[in-house]
């Protein structure tokens, strides 16, 4: 899923921009949007849903003919984007989120420093939405395990699938006496992508293996975070588990990615201890 944020002061035309971008992208794939609101209560305490919430419900969902609204206590932008990715959105447009690390489209000028601005446009203009769509397509993907499974469910060969298996690599917190605070992953991007693609293609040559998807995160990951997702779709379960197992072994031995461990005792590059 491509995820971008549209930022700018009031009256710069953000909502109009988002709507035009939704229209443009909807012809290419499913679009989800997120609106960042401040000081807003979704349901007044007089309404049934408000009463549910005030009684202590963590999550209150309202279902109507129109659809579903879910009020999730304590959730934020990350969770909102995960929900969109899990539901198979191909694009997520966020109105707001100046402080996030999403790639940003800025309308007009802003005094604050906003990171990762990929496009600056004039406010309230006749923007070239094809140009904007092009920029959106160049941003990095927001991937969740469920978005990968969703992708597999929609490939043309899916009817041949009898089983789907997944592997998730996780940042282990405790190893013997060592407590890990976080891991930092460095990638040789272009070559890593090529090697991952080769692993997927090699495994797909095997009898009964229909699709293999691999996604490895990079940058800083905290203890308990997910590192790598592997999803395999096969005709029968017999060939599934070996393919999953071989996939992770090959990722670990062939893909140019390096792990630096940050522990309570100090930092070290993992191969130093090998």
């Amino acid at each position: 899923m491509k995820a971008v944020a549209v930022i700018g002061y009031k009256n710069t035309g953000k909502t109009t921009f988002v709507c035009r971008l939704v229209e443009k992208l909807a012809s290419k794939g499913k679009v989800g949007t997120v609106k960042i609101m401040h000081d807003h209560r979704f349901d007044s305490p007089e309404k049934d849903t408000g009463k549910h919430f005030d009684s202590g419900a963590e999550n209150v969902t309202a279902v109507s003919e129109e659809g579903v609204v879910s009020i999730q206590r304590g959730a934020g932008l990350d969770e909102a984007l995960e929900v969109l990715a899990d539901r198979g959105m191909e694009y997520a447009i966020v109105e707001g989120a100046t402080n996030s690390d999403l790639p940003k489209i800025m309308l007009g000028e802003m005094e604050e420093e906003a990171g990762n601005v990929v496009l600056r446009l004039a406010p309230c203009s006749d923007w070239d939405m094809d140009e904007v769509a092009g920029i959106v397509h160049q941003t990095s993907e927001f991937v969740t395990l469920n978005s990968m499974i969703n992708k597999i469910r929609h490939i043309p060969e899916f009817p041949l699938t009898g089983s789907i298996g997944t592997f998730t690599g996780v940042v282990r917190g405790e190893t013997d006496d060592i407590s890990t605070k976080m891991l930092e992953f460095e990638k040789y991007e272009s070559v890593a992508d090529e090697r991952i693609e080769k692993i997927c293609n090699d495994l797909k040559q095997r009898e009964g293996i229909i699709e293999v998807l691999i996604h490895h995160k990079s940058g800083r990951l905290m203890r308990g975070d997910d590192i790598v997702y592997i999803v395999v779709a096969s005709a029968h379960r017999q060939e599934l588990f070996k393919a999953l197992s071989d996939a992770i072994e090959r990722v670990k031995s062939e893909v140019p990615i390096w792990k630096k461990e940050v522990t309570m005792e100090g930092d070290f590059w993992v191969h130093d201890h090998a």
Partner: protein
């Protein structure tokens, strides 16, 4: 004494046209000649100075060098490694073991291909190639 028809294209290629006045006029041949000789005296390896190669470094090698990309001269992997060690002596113990032997676990790629599948440290490098040096991988 160099004919300007000989000196001119050579100097042009070297990017060093230190001629005081219009070099088309024969009267400046001597001036050009002097600079040409001086140039040779001062720049013994100027043939290689043209083609600086970009080498990408990763992980602890990048940290030790303090940079993720270095520009060095050399036409083979061996030559650029020598240059890198000269410029970044701290890298020597990471990359080589005794007697200038490349450590077995160090990977060198040219355009994503390991030099072990090419001509090893004798593999040739041009300016268009992307070279990368890194320690054992540890992803996943």
């Amino acid at each position: 004494m160099w004919d300007s028809r000989v000196a001119w294209p050579i100097l042009e290629r070297l990017g060093r046209l230190d001629c005081g006045s219009n070099p088309r006029y024969p009267t400046t041949i001597l001036h050009v000649t002097t600079n040409f000789n001086e140039y040779f005296i001062n720049q013994p390896d100027m043939g290689k100075a043209m083609a600086a190669k970009k080498v990408r470094l990763f992980a602890n090698i990048r940290e030790k060098a303090g940079t993720s990309e270095v520009e060095v001269n050399g036409d083979t992997v061996s030559e650029i490694l020598d240059e890198i060690i000269t410029k970044y002596p701290d890298l020597e113990e990471l990359i080589f073991e005794d007697g200038k032997k490349l450590r077995g676990y160090i990977n060198i790629l040219i355009n994503g291909e390991n030099v072990q599948h090419l001509e090893g440290t004798d593999s040739a490098i041009t300016e268009k190639d992307e070279v990368a040096i890194f320690p054992p991988v540890s992803g996943g």
